[in-house]
Subunit: 150 residues, 6 copies
């Protein structure tokens, strides 16, 4: 890393953190891993239905619709990583970068496979992200009324 970049990075780290993060980059401040989870659940269901069906048209459609859903999950996960979490979270969550990296790579695996287990692995990684999000105060800070009770 060049010295100039290091200096810029230093400045960034002492800049007021409240201006650096949000799901729409205003930042509006509303984040929830639930967006990624819904798409990942869709991937699991599509993979299951694919195996329950022997209609070639249906199976063809499953392939590209699952791809779209996994791409949406990937987008939501990337936004959480870059916008919701801040440098001060790195100490609290030393696995932060690694977890998100594996989650994004798992989205790619989900695209490439019709095994529902790949979607389940993605859901497990989103659960880890969800835990970090909640521990960082995500629910209180970003959702107006909390998550709706079941």
């Amino acid at each position: 890393m060049k010295l100039s970049t290091r200096l810029l990075a230093l400045v960034d780290r002492f800049a007021p953190p409240e201006t650096v993060h949000a799901h729409c980059d205003i930042p509006c401040g509303v984040y929830d891993p639930e967006q990624a989870r819904i798409e990942a659940e869709s991937c699991v269901k599509i993979a299951q239905k694919y195996h329950e069906s022997d209609d070639p048209l249906f199976r063809d459609r499953c392939v590209f619709v699952k791809e779209e859903r996994a791409e949406l999950a990937k987008h939501h996960i990337s936004v959480l990583w870059s916008d919701n979490f801040k440098p001060e979270h790195l100490e609290q969550f030393p696995d932060l970068h690694d977890t998100f990296w594996r989650a994004l790579k798992q989205c790619s695996n989900v695209k490439r496979s019709m095994d529902p287990a790949e979607g389940e692995k993605l859901l497990a990684l989103i659960d880890e992200i969800d835990e970090m999000w909640k521990k960082s105060g995500g629910l209180e800070k970003t959702r107006l009324n909390g998550r709706p009770g079941n």
Copy 2:
């Protein structure tokens, strides 16, 4: 309505309902009004932040980012209406069409205003949709593990 269309409609109403609905039109069967709610909450927050700021650049950005978020809410609501709810729900929810119509029109109002109250009205309508969704068994039928506890 032409006779031919009426007949087709009749046939559709007796067709097996399980093939007619899902958030990705596979149908994968995963639905949750939470997707629309997250975007609507974003609209409320953006409108609030708009009024708290006197930076013209920030305020300009709020206008078009809110518009994008309201458009996403509109899309999610439209999919719930056309894909998740079926003819047999009409008896259970006589206000079904009207509630969704007003929710979609409210998304347009949210685009056109910087008053957070417009976003709050949208949230109230999404709450009504959420109630119908839960009463129709939406949570059990469409989400793999329920909504994550708060």
Copy 3:
């Protein structure tokens, strides 16, 4: 429906109607069911060509391109319903909600089938929408120069 929502709805119904509807939500006021019809015609043609071909690559492409076209038809129809038609049209067209609901569900059927007849059914529903649109003054109110003569 909650009382509060009922009251809001009442207010909305007496608000000046000319600000509540348009294909781009400005509202620009330009609407035409022709946008949905062009996409639906595309779906019919793709389904026909699918059956005339025995090239597996071509047939594969038909599946996902038709899906995209049906999704566009669905979007155009949803916008017409929520933005172009207003509460005062409900008396004039008691089947308004039902026709649109069936049209959107028919878009989903078009996605799921390679039978051109599904696309034809969608075209018949768009024709019904077109009639309502014209009876409500759609052509005069929303198109600058009318539809171009054949």
Copy 4:
């Protein structure tokens, strides 16, 4: 132009023309300049409404919504040029390339101006395209039932 490319071009020009053109690149074979015209009309109306309003929020929204509509017009025009018209049309319409080039550049002008006259110029160019399209048999060859009568 390299010799190799010239040769490829020659081959292309003698290839069966029916595989080279369609609005969705299947090719489905459905084309209509009406798609571009609807977006261009929207641009004219937005520019008019912009001048009739003194609400800064409304005017702000007009700017980016018009930009989106002009971009859609640009896309529809580009597809007509590359997919609907074939080498044999060049003799029939010696201005083909030039007309389309000016129409696309006019879409850019529409983005950059709030003068409704820019949108009117675009409509005039779309009318020229429409004439070529009709003279080349566009209506009969590409639309299932012609354009709906006014």
Copy 5:
């Protein structure tokens, strides 16, 4: 061409050229055929990998992902044609319109074939466009720091 349009065209040709062209239509003034080339290279690679694999799922995915990539190439090429090149370039490059037309049509061919040779033909056409772009001063005028050295 109508007289009125001819006159408008004349006016356009004498308008200051610096307002007529850019990859984002601001115009920002940044253009590079490299964007189209990267997508075209992706198409070639996908077609190659398709033939090296006998996994039906992988091959299915190749079909629609290549289609998306070819569509992106088509978009980038269309923007270069309409926005980067100006009337004064027509004398310098008499094949300008024809080369771009064939490049766009070749994108459609790439969509319709799994032969890597179709992608190679597209790359050859992009090379021709690249040469015109460089001869018109594209590198100096539009890229801040030139293309990064290999």
Copy 6:
């Protein structure tokens, strides 16, 4: 990190690396930071032109077009991080995660500012990414013919 996830991660790390990465997730294997750089250059130019102009319409357009360009840069950078780089690169580039994180956060800063210096900072970070990409053999492994000579 849960034990189960750790185990899955271990398995992933010993899986054949050639299936884990590509700009379109086939994976096609074509990557180049040039895609992000072109968008970032566009952001710099738009910010410069914004300050050179006193036309309110032009300045308004600069705000949302720059936002779109920064969003594209963000997307391209995220794909490089998740798809092009593999676990074995972490030793070679210990700053890998941090550099990408700062680059993505810098895209957000570019959206929020009209200072061209923010775009320049983003370009500096893309240069760092470019160096890692080249050192990892990116040019030889992913581009068919290298980058075109200046």
